[in-house]
């Protein structure tokens, strides 16, 4: 399994963090990734409105040929998105680990402003270490 990229989307739909971990993804300018992340946020909102019954679900995964994405919505509205190659294992565990790193390195950092882009070298290095252990 390869993790192609990790995105963090804030509760307003803005992209606050994106990092690519493989060279198979087309190199997109940051503005394009911002638009794509906003669109994903919108699609997630649509799917959560379409959920039958009273469940507050939404899109959790999407797949295409050879690759897919997994969305993890936290209870505060922050979304973690992982783009991955198709035979995959342990994605939920991975997303929980990413959430944990986010809670430690971002939320406990006094120099981070909530809902703003993440500029934490600690977050990046810990995430790098985690993804490097998963990517083969």
């Amino acid at each position: 399994m390869t993790i192609h990229a990790v995105w963090v989307i804030n509760k307003a739909g803005g992209l606050v963090f994106s990092r690519s971990y493989s060279d198979t993804l087309p190199a997109l300018p940051l503005n394009t990734i911002l638009i794509l992340a906003g669109t994903l946020h919108g699609v997630h909102a649509i799917t959560s409105r379409l959920t039958p019954g009273a469940g507050s679900g939404g899109m959790e995964a999407f797949e295409a040929e050879g690759w897919g994405g997994r969305v993890f919505l936290t209870s505060t509205g922050t979304k973690f998105v992982v783009l991955h190659s198709i035979p995959h294992t342990g994605l939920e565990e991975l997303l929980k680990r990413i959430y944990e790193i986010y809670a430690d390195a971002v939320m406990k950092n006094p120099f981070h402003t909530a809902e703003m882009p993440i500029n934490s070298s600690l977050f990046e290095s810990r995430l790098q270490g985690l993804i490097a252990g998963v990517n083969t």
Binding site: D104, A105, M107, K108, N109, P110, F111, N119, S120, S121, L122, F123, S125
Partner: protein, 279 residues
Amino acid sequence: MAQSLAYMGGGSGSAGGGTPSSSSRFSLPTSPPTSSTPSSASFYSHSTNPSTSTVSAPLPKRDGSRIVSAGPSSLQQTLFPSSSHQAPTSILDRPLNRTKGAEVSLGAFAFLFAEIVSYSQSRVDSVTDLEKRLSTLGYEAGQRILSLVLLRNTQQAGGKDPKREHRLIPILQFVHTQVYRYCFGKPADGLERSVEGEDEYMLTLNQPPLTQHISIPKDLSQLSCEAFTAGIVEGVLDGLDVPARVTAHTVGTDQYPQRTVILIKLDQKVMDREEALGK
């Protein structure tokens, strides 16, 4: 005491329209319900519905009032616990020498510390001022930690032979071992004398727990939030009459990118005294 409180509670309850509590006090002493039931029934029937259900309505209502009557007494027990009832002890009531269960969760402290730093940062103009502010906070903590650690040591020794170091090296070892262990659960990773001067000592901590989640932005690269720890050290040293200027510096290595050095620059007075005391 409890009775007067119950009376006050009943009075305020009836004033607020809570008739069940007053009627329950009526019904408790009178166990044969022959005389009291009609009066309470008529009272209720006037207030709710005068027409039909005067016979069937009072019975469930009396049952309800009995349940309510059990309520206030148990509520009083929780609000005003008697001596037999165990109450949660606050940090001020806890014995000073008991350390078990007194630890603070690191996650909670990390959030508190992050808030302290951002609060302080919004009130200063420069990195130096921010470090000074954090150091002042640490100094206050250090003074209290010194008293507490010394007291606990004396109590553990059974109250006899209270010990307080007066020579420089034992004092630094006391900070390195006991104070650090009190604060962070383990002794500091190193204590060494600076090669630059006789009066400079360095305490190192490879992975400082306080600032392990903090990443300093580039425009504040000189800042080390361990200034708080430096303040603690300064407070302890000052309490032992070893005035010093204590600063914190992040000196990362490949293995420990957050390794922090607490630099202690001793006052000339201390050096003079050490020389006078001799070996």
